[in-house]
């Protein structure tokens, strides 16, 4: 069955990339989740609940996560004047710099793999991944 081979390939690819991300995070003492938080916050300023939903985590998990990142000066909590219950989260300058830096490393780590494809195959792969991914179920 073709779709079995595709499922296998997707799962293998997933753990491969997870390995790269985990390693790069670990070099900065960041878990996969923390790294993902930084990645998400690069271009967003969500409230706690939104971020939790995005990550698929419980609100209570996020409190601790943001606590630790805040203690390290990577993110900050902001009060929302419209509704004083909500807490907005955003990157500090240090957090933004770290995020960009790690993104560069991810890019660097994946470059040898990517270079195995010629440019038109890269475009093709981007297209196929977009087709497969968007709104999964």
């Amino acid at each position: 069955m073709t779709s079995d081979a595709l499922v296998d390939a997707l799962v293998r690819n997933t753990f491969q990339v997870v390995g790269v991300l985990t390693r790069i995070g670990a070099e900065r003492d960041l878990s996969l989740t923390q790294l993902r938080v930084l990645g998400i916050l690069r271009d967003r300023r969500p409230r706690m609940t939104e971020l939790a939903a995005f990550l698929g985590l419980d609100k209570s998990t996020l409190s601790g996560l943001i606590d630790r990142a805040e203690r390290r000066g990577l993110v900050a909590r902001g009060k929302n004047p419209q509704d004083r219950r909500v807490v907005d989260v955003f990157l500090t300058p240090a957090g933004l710099e770290l995020a960009e830096q790690m993104y560069g490393e991810v890019r660097h780590a994946l470059t040898p793999a990517i270079n195995r494809l010629d440019p038109q195959d890269r475009d093709q792969l981007v297209q196929l991944l977009h087709a497969v991914m968007h709104s999964p179920g």
Copy 2:
């Protein structure tokens, strides 16, 4: 830059699939790592150290992981007659059944995504993923 788009797509794809796997594992009280262990052991009988290396985890982490899986009757430890220091790990029948069952669910969960591609695009995607993945660095 095309490769930026590809890096983004690979990372997004990764977290998407991780989400699916995590959810399916959680329904059976299995972490992503435990699920991965079951997946790996479907067609292998490695020693502890091999499995740890495969997962990118410390040996000591694996002891606990296998302890818990063994307590639940999913895996077993076997003695290696050639070298009595070595511990081989393998699935019990229950573990194998669970692994196959979850693989089916993963397949099922990814089917709507996969069906968004026509068969020739699926083959193409499998080929591209294989090209990108194999021996990454």
